[in-house]
Symmetry: C2
Subunit: 336 residues, 2 copies
Amino acid sequence: MAATVVCASGNVEVVCESVRVTPAAKAPVCVLGTGLIGGSLLRAAVAAGYDAWGYNRSAAGAHAARADGFDVTEDLPATLTRAAAADALIVIAVPMPAVEHMVSSIAAFASHCALTDVVSVKAPVAAAVRAQGLSARYVGGHPMAGTSESGWAATDSDLFRGAVWAVGVDEGTHVDPWTRVVRLAIDCGSVVVPVLADEHDRAVARISHLPHVLAEALAAAGAAGGDLALGLAAGSFRDGTRVAATAPALVRAICEPNSAAILEVLEETLTVLGAARDSLRAQNSLADLVEAGHDARARYETTQRWEVTDVRPGDHNWLRNLRDAGLRGGVITRLD
Amino acid sequence: MAATVVCASGNVEVVCESVRVTPAAKAPVCVLGTGLIGGSLLRAAVAAGYDAWGYNRSAAGAHAARADGFDVTEDLPATLTRAAAADALIVIAVPMPAVEHMVSSIAAFASHCALTDVVSVKAPVAAAVRAQGLSARYVGGHPMAGTSESGWAATDSDLFRGAVWAVGVDEGTHVDPWTRVVRLAIDCGSVVVPVLADEHDRAVARISHLPHVLAEALAAAGAAGGDLALGLAAGSFRDGTRVAATAPALVRAICEPNSAAILEVLEETLTVLGAARDSLRAQNSLADLVEAGHDARARYETTQRWEVTDVRPGDHNWLRNLRDAGLRGGVITRLD
């Protein structure tokens, strides 16, 4: 099957160097880590007709998955050996602190498998993969979906339906694993945003990690007001602190590996809030902050995704063209 | 009808000085300003069986209300003259910048009417009322409900159902207007939190105004990441910026009159975020922030409201006892 994802930038001279790839539509999928994201992916892949199985470190989590009829064990070598034999796409779905161990196990037992991940930062995962010499088979991924819950009990085969799934297009990405990952994301109901690892990490610092940081600070400010303040809290506080309910270890595992990008946007936000404080104190005005925020939210609400339809994986400059499309809001919704 | 709201602080020696009050169950209600909150209150009062009418400054808003069968005019003197004749409870439901004009009109046309408001700050409204010599008939109110929409088109008779409605218990509050306001709030489906004006304003700075400030800053940080960041944004950004969609003039009208309390909690939050930045930079750790935020959100989720059942309006120390109950999470759910 030749993937015929294409880019809307019509002025690009496309040199046809595409290769016929055989990503084996719905090739097997092996999920490492069956928590909220990995477990939901296992459910979604099976629901979409994939042969899929998984590994989970905790026996309780693996048992819960098996009790629901899924093929999940606590035996990592056996799981990976099976993946190697079946030429499965391996999905790393553990928190960042556990990624290095997973990658070295993959290098030991299934080094030829196509490899992706669903971790919330991309550059540190890519570095771990590179350190084990697995880059040629690796394509980073990040489904932008989740809840404040965690563990198998929270898994949902529809978690990715209508979501955005970031998929790496860094230099050196190969067509076969890339096509497999995109197909899986689409089959799980998502649309795909092509993105470089570094650019992904800076973007999610703004729209995923900063929301966590501000939610934690808002929750703390509310609770410092005691039962009266918490008792008066309504929708704005409830929604603004929702993600503060996420398990602290998970929030830290999500945010701390992206500290450089978070520091940049946090510094920017401290400057914005400091200026608002100064303006409120000196002129009793929040005008600048409120107008900027309202315009920004309006831009978010009206941002239109558009379908990338004229980039063919493997074509000359396909990775750069997809990256450019992603930066401009382009998404991939199908592989022809 | 004697109101028999009572306080759970069982060690209070209650001296029975209560007076038989005649707050005329479901006495008429006159709403000044039929935007989201005032218009919803008009709908809710009529639905609860009150004789209720209103005034709206804009002819378009008044016309929209009339088109839906409600008795709303653009004639403020006529509206207030009718309120005076009917001994109605007047509800000020305009943004803070318009309150002073309303209060002086009430002083001119309906100075003997019981008077409340639904404005988001309490001390500035109380000051405006005091300046016109109307304090004896005034009881501050603030239903903790709203959406990011505004105007008559957004009104909803169920807006206050299940909500918390702050009602003033400041020194000098009289039983009759207080009972009328509490009855109206309960009949609209809310529970009542008794609170001092200053304590209310400090509490809402934490759980209503700071959420606005942080939502604006978060929205701006996201939009600064361009189409890529906004395209990757999912639930945490959507929920964290929801109230940034509120009309800027309305946000400013809500927040700027409460600048002293906002400055206090904003400074506190800048300190918390600055410490998180320092810890992330020096130790690559968000532990303190994340743990404090998680604990705070858990406290919010598990905060139990309890029913105030042993304070009788007019009893010795009834205002102080109600205030103390409110500070500890007590709510009034009925008037016997």
